[in-house]
Subunit: 140 residues, 2 copies
Amino acid sequence: MLENDAIRILDRLECLRLLAEVPLGRVVYTRQALPAVLPVNFTLDEDDSVVLYTSAVSDLVHAVDGAVVAFEADEFSAATRSGWSVVVTGRAGVVDEPAEHERLSQSGPRSWMPVRDGVFLRIESELVTGREIMSTRTTG
Amino acid sequence: MLENDAIRILDRLECLRLLAEVPLGRVVYTRQALPAVLPVNFTLDEDDSVVLYTSAVSDLVHAVDGAVVAFEADEFSAATRSGWSVVVTGRAGVVDEPAEHERLSQSGPRSWMPVRDGVFLRIESELVTGREIMSTRTTG
């Protein structure tokens, strides 16, 4: 894949606007020295960080708390072969301040799955990259 | 997230059947010691490996040739909060046998983007895991 007319690099504001439009993304991390990925629903917080809600005892929390992870969301149309993808890269951490937890309990994401001992996991948006793929049929 | 009634673990055959239904997935790998992810279109080959078509000089090929990567595909409905995700984990490698390259040129994937010096990249389906998330509204 080449950087050319078919690809437009998105700036940070465009990326964040697109992220705010979709409910689901994927946490990309390392688990037992292997690449791992888990789809999760999320919200963007006021500081543009990505916030998830999951179980305190989940494998995800165990693997990513304190680590740098990537978080990806995208929307593509197979019909037009076009779409966009955005990747946030930054440190992940459990929200442990009670006031923050309380605030997110009101405004933050609710997991699509039942959660026991729920915690909010925040991914700082230290690096935000994205690209839009425009329709091209030149390669078949 | 918990393993419970809302989640059904998919067996390998179910996973491969679902993978065959979607055109797009995401390669999950490590780039410069950081987690990285790239959406790509793909096909499943006869041996159930995942095959992509990309540029020989792409960052992706440079980063993953010979490495163990994950490949994820999913389909979710925000309306019903249900869907599935499948992850293939295995070694990635450029297809360098001329006969295999020729065969894939006929039957393999075509990139949604223009590709220069195209190569096929194969991800062995050494580990195939998946889960289906059934609709649940119990947590709001």
